[in-house]
């Protein structure tokens, strides 16, 4: 029988080794799996590569992971924010490496990893500093940059509801990167507000089929930050 639910966030993040690449869902205040990140901090893995749209806000979530010195490298589109002080400090101290990726290329590179695409030509970034050193090609008169997939060992995501097969639905703009990250990680871990009986999710409306999800943990009342 398939039952992907685990009892606690600690059990959900068990086994993430030092040096792992970990994708973290969320954009701004929406869709951040705070409880999974807290469990990862408690678990102790170090030297992580984190893939997230931002580099943490305030003192929680990815920011806390950075503050604790667990992040060796971050792949993101928008690290600099008014409340990204932990990233800012690590960057100035040169204790963190940054790969800056345009947000659409970030999403598409993650999708490519999940979809088994070896590389793709995108117009985004052509002619800019972020394409320096990358292969380019003019296709149908338009400049393109060759971009590679971004894979992960683990993805930590937040969804609204799951069933025991790991099928997921999300809530409003908390969806953001999570469905593509779920496809790009060898082990996808979802925190959800509720696990419903198998068959209770509308098969027409499942956003992430369970094939992409490996562990599910219920966090009934997840933390929600103030707006940044």
């Amino acid at each position: 029988m398939i039952d992907k639910t685990v009892a606690t966030p600690d059990a959900a993040v068990a086994g993430i080794p030092d040096g792992a690449t970990v994708m973290v869902g969320g954009f701004g205040t929406a869709g951040i799996p705070f409880e999974l990140i807290d469990a990862l901090i408690a678990q102790g893995a170090r030297g992580l590569t984190v893939v997230n749209n931002n580099a943490g806000n305030g003192d929680t979530g990815v920011a806390a992971l950075i503050r604790e010195g667990r992040v060796r490298r971050i792949v993101c589109s928008f690290p600099r924010q008014v409340d990204s002080w932990h990233f800012d400090a690590a960057w100035k101290a040169r204790t963190i490496e940054l790969e800056l990726v345009p947000q659409g290329n970030l999403a598409e590179r993650i999708r490519a990893a999940g979809a088994g695409i070896g590389a793709f030509f995108t117009p985004t970034g052509f002619g800019t500093a972020l394409a320096e050193g990358k292969e380019t090609r003019v296709i149908d008169g338009r400049g393109h940059v060759l971009e590679r997939p971004i894979r992960a060992d683990y993805a930590l995501i937040k969804a609204e509801r799951a069933d025991r097969w790991g099928n997921l639905v999300y809530r409003s703009t908390a969806r953001n990167f999570s469905p593509v990250m779920a496809t790009a990680a060898r082990c996808t871990i979802a925190q959800v507000r509720e696990v419903v009986p198998l068959g209770a999710l509308d098969p027409e409306a499942i956003v992430t089929p369970g094939i992409f999800v490996h562990r599910v943990v219920v966090v009934r009342d997840p933390a929600t930050p103030r707006s940044a």
């Binding site: 205040t29 929406a30 928008f78 990726v101 800019t128 809530r171 409003s172 908390a174 953001n176 930050p225």
Partner: protein, 217 residues
């Protein structure tokens, strides 16, 4: 300088809004462009996109009704109109990169005479770089409009022969709305479509530092 007639930010936003047709799908960038939403002409149904995964954004919620998980790309709380839809980030940027939006409105540090846009990085060597969706947005619509002050605080033209700041995308801007004028980026350079009342074309030309094509030519 202080005596120049200028459009206010709200007047600029109203002017941009006039050029967005009924039924258009539109992304309004962070900052000044966001203000365009307040001036969309009544009677036009315009569908707002935000790159974090939503079409059909409505106005800000009433105080106390904010939902931290229903936000726009500027991370401000928003609402969803009837007919709106949610989707994930890859689908959202596919929508932009694929040319399905009618209009993007963006802020800028500089726009070149051939429509190159610089709006993501000042180029300062110690600045932490951050790009977000800027490069995608600059290519993400059938027409890219820029809203910016015509001049820097020091009085230099932000319409330039060549961008001094790192570019966001090449030859992407269709139209520029400043506090002094509305200009189309044409094959011969910026074509002046409108000038703020009280400012002569010659004066605009003198301030702009690049050759402008006069209105009606």
């Amino acid at each position: 300088m202080a005596s120049l007639p200028r459009w206010t930010h709200d007047e600029m936003a109203r002017r941009v809004a006039q050029d967005i047709p009924d039924g258009a799908y539109v992304n309004l960038g962070i900052g000044l462009p966001t203000r365009v939403a307040n001036h969309l002409p009544p009677g036009r149904e315009i569908v707002l996109h935000s790159e974090n995964g939503v079409l059909g954004m409505g106005p800000a919620p009433a105080p106390g009704r904010e939902d931290p998980e229903l936000i726009n790309a500027g991370k401000q709380p928003v609402t969803l109109l009837p007919g709106g839809a949610y989707f994930h980030s890859a689908d959202s940027f596919a929508m932009m990169r694929g040319g399905h939006l009618d209009v993007c409105v963006l802020g800028a540090f500089q726009v070149s005479v051939r429509g190159d846009l610089a709006n993501w990085h000042t180029g300062a060597p110690d600045a932490i770089p951050a790009v977000g969706g800027a490069m995608d947005l600059a290519l993400g619509a059938k027409q890219v409009f820029v809203m910016m002050e015509h001049l820097t605080k020091a009085g230099a033209s932000k319409l330039v022969a060549q961008c001094a700041y790192p570019v966001t995308a090449l030859a992407c801007v269709a139209r520029v709305y400043t506090d002094l004028a509305v200009l189309d980026i044409g094959p011969q350079g910026p074509v002046v479509r409108e000038i703020v009342p009280g400012l002569a074309f010659g004066e605009l030309q003198r301030l702009s530092g690049v050759a402008l094509v006069a209105p009606g030519r």
